[in-house]
């Protein structure tokens, strides 16, 4: 753990059914994700909560924040729609995987009900 990257994340990539003909159910399932990177030091920062939740439960907050997740991996390692799981078990979908010489700066949405 460092001052700049105080958190730890793993990155997985969703995959759909394989094969031809009748294949298995199509859905975004954690069990069908393949590992891209693990134990990566990261910084997870909240940005403005302006996104409305797609479906809210009565007890939910009205808006959902977006998150920027910074980490250092080679360019091309992660892609949009990859899933980031943080050290507390929260899952995020990468909406934009932006790479600079300092590493990745990913705009993410938290995957929650």
């Amino acid at each position: 753990m460092s001052f700049v990257y105080p958190r730890t994340i793993g990155v997985t990539r969703p995959s759909g059914p394989s094969g031809v003909g009748a294949v298995s159910y199509g859905a975004l399932l954690p069990s069908a994700e393949s590992a891209v990177a693990s134990a990566v030091a990261a910084s997870i920062q909240q940005i403005k909560a302006k996104r409305k939740l797609a479906r809210t439960l009565p007890g939910d907050a009205a808006n959902a924040p977006q998150w920027r997740i910074f980490f250092n991996l080679p360019n091309g390692t992660v892609a949009e729609r990859d899933i980031i799981t943080d050290d507390q078990g929260a899952r995020y979908q990468i909406a934009a995987a932006y790479w600079t010489a300092l590493g990745y700066q990913c705009l993410c949405e938290r995957l929650e009900v």
Partner: protein, 282 residues
Amino acid sequence: MADLSDVQNALVAVTAQALYPAGTAQPSAAGVPCRVYAGWPVPASLDADLAAGITHVTVFPRDEERNTTRFPADWQTLSVTPPTLTLTVSGQTVTVGGAIAIPQNAVMLANGQPYVYALQGGDTLGGVATALAALIAVDIPGTVSSGAVVTLPADAHDLVARVGGHGVSIREIRRQVRHFQLTVWSDTPSHRDAVAQPMDVALAAMKFLTLTDGMAARLIYQGSPVSDQQQKPRLFQRDFIYSVEYATTQTADDTAITQDQLNVGVKVDGASQYDIISTTYY
């Protein structure tokens, strides 16, 4: 029981058969690889597959639904499994034969009383004979077994042996019409058309789907919108909308009746209950 997912799976199977009539080891009827499944595409996989020229066909139930329940919920026989065990009466002996399979009941009537042994996993023919002999010997001392043969004493009378099998009953407890959407996701209009055509013919030719519970579901064409709206990301779609009328069913395991019981009773005038004075088994 038939459920929404059974209809979905049946539509997947029909579509896959139409696209791969010679099996998935052979090229598809459309000439392009096709994945057919219930649910929705995973976006990243769909992007990769479209780039590779692979077409997806998805099956999903739409929200439109109508309750069309109109038939009595009477039980009907769905299947009967004949007994594999045999019991043969000869004089004062009963020979256990055939093959052990569960569930089955081995039944003997002797001196007007029934003796029922439910076969257990791991039973042998000799074990069934021993179990029956033990049940009968409680009332008819001198009943013994040797191997697969039960021998009753000479004063035992009215010997009858029966084996009861089992079956499955089914009843329709609800009926509904639900719309299902089959969507072709292709990378080019020509691939979309090549995949859609054999699907269209196969579905149009099919009036009823057979579901896993043995019931038939009525299939009626509702429409087929085509969309090129997503052509910028190389996606060409065609939907087939079908209404499917299917029954929600309930099944029950049944055991064959092996003996009847007749109670004869009297009731004193003014009393609330009958007093049973004799019981006869047949």
